[in-house]
C-alpha cells in the first residue's frame, strides 16, 4: 500500500514539472486532469476501502479528473486560443525554481514535527511541493487559463495534505469543498470567456487599468 501511494505521489510531482515546463496549453490541462485522477487513488491507498474513501475518490475523480478539465478544454476551444502558454519568466527558469522548491519541500518536511506514522510516506513533502508548483504557475504565466491551472494545482496540494486527515472532514464537508472548486472554476470559465470577448485576448497583462 505504502509503495503504491509513494508511486502515485512521485507521479504527481513529475506532473507538476511537466506543467511547469510545457508550452502547450491542452497538454497542461490533460496533465492536471491526470494529476486529479491520481489524487483520487490516495484516500483509498491511505485509509483502505470504506464508504467514506470510496465516495471521496469518486468525487475527486469525477470533478478533478474529468469534469473540470473538460470545462477548461471546452473553454479553450470556445475562445480559440491562438498563442499557447505565455510565460512571464521563461520555461527553464520556472523549472529550475520548481526543482529548488521541491527540494526545499522535502528538506522542510523532514524537519516538521510529524506524527511517527507520517514520517515514512511522501504525503507531506509532495503536498508542499505541489502547493509551491501551483503558486509558481499562478504567478509566472500571463494567460488567465494557466492561472486557473495554477489554482487547481494549488488545491491539489492541499487535497494531498487533507487525505492524511480525512477523519477531520466529514464527507458532507468534503463534498462541499469539491463542489465549491467546481463552481469556482465554472465561474472563472465564464469570466475568461468575457475577458476574451472584451479584450480579444486572454492575456491578463491587459488587465491593468485599475491601479493607483
Amino acid at each position: 500500500m505504502n509503495q503504491l501511494s509513494n508511486l502515485c505521489l512521485l507521479l504527481v510531482i513529475l506532473l507538476n514539472f511537466f506543467t511547469l515546463g510545457s508550452a502547450r496549453l491542452g497538454a497542461c490541462i490533460r496533465a492536471v486532469a491526470l494529476q486529479g485522477g491520481l489524487l483520487a487513488l490516495l484516500p483509498l491507498l491511505a485509509h483502505g476501502l470504506n464508504a467514506h474513501t470510496l465516495l471521496l475518490a469518486a468525487g475527486a475523480l469525477g470533478l478533478k479528473g474529468l469534469l473540470i478539465p473538460w470545462l477548461l478544454l471546452r473553454a479553450i476551444r470556445e475562445v480559440r486560443i491562438r498563442k499557447e502558454v505565455e510565460p512571464l519568466i521563461g520555461f527553464v527558469p520556472t523549472l529550475v525554481l520548481g526543482a529548488l522548491f521541491t527540494a526545499g519541500a522535502f528538506i522542510f518536511a523532514d524537519s516538521l514535527p510529524l506524527v511517527p506514522a507520517h514520517h515514512q510516506g511522501l504525503f507531506v513533502p509532495t503536498s508542499l511541493a505541489t502547493l509551491f508548483a501551483g503558486f509558481l504557475l499562478l504567478m509566472s504565466r500571463r494567460k488567465a487559463i494557466t492561472q486557473v491551472l495554477g489554482y487547481l494545482i494549488l488545491e491539489n496540494g492541499i487535497f494531498i495534505f487533507g487525505t492524511l486527515l480525512s477523519e477531520a472532514l466529514p464527507l458532507m464537508v468534503e463534498a462541499g469543498v469539491l463542489l465549491d472548486l467546481l463552481v469556482g472554476v465554472f465561474v472563472m470559465g465564464i469570466v475568461i470567456n468575457q475577458i476574451n470577448r472584451e479584450f480579444s485576448t486572454l492575456n491578463t497583462e491587459r488587465l491593468s487599468a485599475l491601479k493607483e
Binding site: 489554482y151 494549488l154 495534505f161 486527515l165 472532514l169 464537508v173 469543498v177 468575457q194 485599475l210
Partner: protein, 474 residues
C-alpha cells in the same frame, strides 16, 4: 429555525430565477430581507437549538448575524428602485446571486465546524463575483478577475490553515476534529508548532477576504467597480463575516494558551492596514476607491482592537456594528451621487449637496461619522478602543493611531468636501433623489447616530458576552 434562516434565501433565489416579472423579482429582495431580519431577531432572542453540532449560535455569531441581516435588509430596499433604474442591465442574475450571497453569509456566521465555515466563505466569493461584474465593462471584468483569483487563492490557504489545526490535534494525540467546541475543549492538547502555522494561514486566508493590508489589493478595484449596493454589502457584511473567521482562530489560540501570540500578529497587520490606507486615501481621485481604502482602514482598527484585548476588544466589536452601518450609508449615498453625475471621478463631481440635497448630505454626514466625529457611533467605539490601548499601557501605539486617524480625516475630508461643495456642472441632472434610494442610507445614519448617543442594554450585554468569548483562557 436556524436551518430555515440559512435555506430559505436559497429557495427564493431559485424562485427568482424562474419568475418572468421584472419588478416582482426585485421585490423578492426586500421581502426576503425583512423575513431574514425578523427570523434573525427571533433566533437571537430565544437562542434556539442548533442544527446538530455543526451549526449553532453563540454571542459572537449572534452579533454578526444581526448586523449582516440589518445591512442586507437596508440594501435590499435600496435595490428595488436601483434595479428599476438599471432595466437595461436586468436583474435575472443580480437577485439570485444576492440571495445566495445572503444564504452563504448566514451559514458562515452560524457555522460551528471550521470546514462548514470554509465552505460557506468560499461560496460567498463565488456568489459575489457576478455582482461585481454587474456593469459588464472592461474595468469591472478586471476587478472581478482579480477578486475571484486573489480571494480563491486566499481561501485555499485558509483551508491549509484548517488542516494544520486538525493536524495539531492529531500530533497532540487528540481525536482529529474540526468541530469548534471540541477544538476549544481540547485546546490545551493541541501541538504548538502546527497550531501556530495553522493560525498564520487562517489569518492570511480570512485576512485576504477581509482586506487586511498587505492582502487588500483586490479591494479598491472590486469596491470601485461594483454597484454601490454591492459595495455596501461587501464592505459592511462580508468583511465582518471574514473577521468572524479570524476571531474563531483567536478563540482556538486562546483556548490553547497562545492568545498573546495571536494578538501580536493581529496588532501588526492592523497597524499596517491603517498606515497603508492613510497613505492611499490622501489625494484619492475616485470616491468609491476612497471608500474602499476607508474599509481597509477600519478593518485595521478592528484587528487592532482585538489585538489589544480587554476593553479594546469590546470596542472593536462595537466598531464592527458601527462600521457596517456607516459603510452601508456611505456606499448607498455614493451610488446615488455616481448616478446623478454619471461619474465617480473627482474631476466631474461638484456641488453634490446642491444637485442631490439628501444623498449629498448623507454622504457628508457619513464621512463625518466614519472618521470618528462625535456624536456618531464610530466616535464612541474608536474612543473605547483608544481607551483600551491606554489602559493596556500602549500609550505610544495609541498616539500613533490617533495621528493616522487624523491623516485619514484630512485626506478623506479634502475629497469629500470638494464633492459636496461648489456649483454642480451645467446641464440637466439625469437622476433625482427617490424615496427608496434615500430611505435606507438615512435609516443607517439614524441608527449610528442613536448608537453614538445611547447604547441599548441588550446590545451592551451581547457585546460583553461576545468579547468575553475572545478572552477565554485554558
Amino acid at each position: 429555525m436556524l436551518a430555515v434562516l440559512i435555506l430559505f434565501p436559497m429557495a427564493v433565489a431559485v424562485l427568482a430565477h424562474f419568475i418572468p416579472w421584472y419588478r416582482g423579482r426585485s421585490w423578492l429582495l426586500p421581502a426576503s430581507g425583512a423575513l431574514h431580519l425578523v427570523l434573525a431577531v427571533l433566533v437571537s432572542t430565544d437562542g434556539g437549538p442548533g442544527w446538530g453540532s455543526w451549526v449553532g449560535l453563540d454571542p459572537l455569531s449572534t452579533l454578526v448575524l444581526l448586523v449582516t441581516s440589518l445591512l442586507f435588509f437596508g440594501c435590499s430596499v435600496y435595490a428595488v428602485d436601483y434595479l428599476e433604474l438599471r432595466r437595461d442591465r436586468g436583474n435575472r442574475q443580480m437577485v439570485p446571486c444576492l440571495l445566495t450571497f445572503l444564504s452563504a453569509m448566514t451559514l458562515a456566521v452560524t457555522a460551528r465546524h471550521l470546514g462548514v465555515l470554509w465552505f460557506a466563505v468560499e461560496t460567498t466569493t463565488i456568489a459575489s463575483a457576478p455582482l461585481i461584474y454587474y456593469n459588464r465593462n472592461r474595468l469591472s471584468i478586471e476587478a472581478t478577475w482579480k477578486y475571484l483569483l486573489i480571494c480563491s487563492v486566499g481561501i485555499a490557504l485558509a483551508m491549509l490553515g484548517l488542516l494544520f489545526v486538525a493536524y495539531a490535534g492529531l500530533a497532540g494525540g487528540e481525536p482529529v476534529s474540526l468541530q469548534l467546541d471540541r477544538l476549544l475543549a481540547g485546546g490545551a492538547h493541541l501541538s504548538r508548532p502546527w497550531l501556530h502555522a495553522g493560525f498564520v494561514f487562517l489569518l492570511v486566508g480570512f485576512g485576504t477576504k477581509m482586506g487586511l493590508a498587505p492582502l487588500h489589493s483586490w479591494k479598491p478595484d472590486a469596491y470601485g467597480e461594483a454597484p454601490g449596493m454591492v459595495g455596501a454589502l461587501l464592505a459592511g457584511g462580508l468583511t465582518s463575516v471574514a473577521f468572524l473567521g479570524i476571531l474563531r482562530g483567536v478563540q482556538i489560540m486562546g483556548a490553547a494558551g497562545d492568545g498573546a501570540l495571536a494578538r501580536q500578529m493581529l496588532l501588526g497587520l492592523g497597524l499596517l492596514s491603517l498606515v497603508l490606507a492613510a497613505v492611499f486615501m490622501v489625494r484619492q481621485r475616485d470616491i468609491k476607491r476612497l471608500l474602499a481604502y476607508s474599509s481597509i482602514e477600519h478593518m485595521g482598527i478592528l484587528a487592532l482592537g482585538v489585538g489589544i484585548g480587554g476593553l479594546a476588544a469590546f470596542g472593536a466589536l462595537l466598531h464592527l456594528v458601527n462600521n457596517a452601518l456607516t459603510k452601508g450609508c456611505l456606499f448607498l449615498a455614493a451610488g446615488n451621487i455616481h448616478r446623478a453625475f454619471a461619474s465617480k471621478r473627482l474631476e466631474d463631481i461638484r456641488g453634490a449637496t446642491t444637485r442631490l440635497p439628501l444623498s449629498g448630505g448623507l454622504f457628508l454626514a457619513g464621512f463625518l461619522a466614519i472618521t470618528g466625529s462625535p456624536p456618531f457611533g464610530p466616535f464612541l467605539s474608536e474612543f473605547t478602543i483608544l481607551r483600551g490601548m491606554f489602559q493596556a499601557g500602549q500609550g505610544p501605539l495609541a498616539a500613533l493611531v490617533l495621528l493616522l486617524l487624523a491623516t485619514v480625516f484630512i485626506g478623506m475630508g479634502a475629497t469629500v468636501l470638494s464633492v459636496a461643495q461648489g456649483d454642480p456642472p451645467a446641464g440637466e441632472a439625469p437622476f433625482r433623489d427617490r424615496l427608496l434610494l434615500v430611505a435606507p442610507p438615512l435609516g443607517f445614519l439614524l441608527a449610528i447616530l442613536l448608537l453614538g448617543l445611547y447604547l441599548p442594554e441588550p446590545l451592551r450585554h451581547l457585546l460583553e458576552n461576545a468579547a468575553s468569548l475572545l478572552e477565554v483562557q485554558p
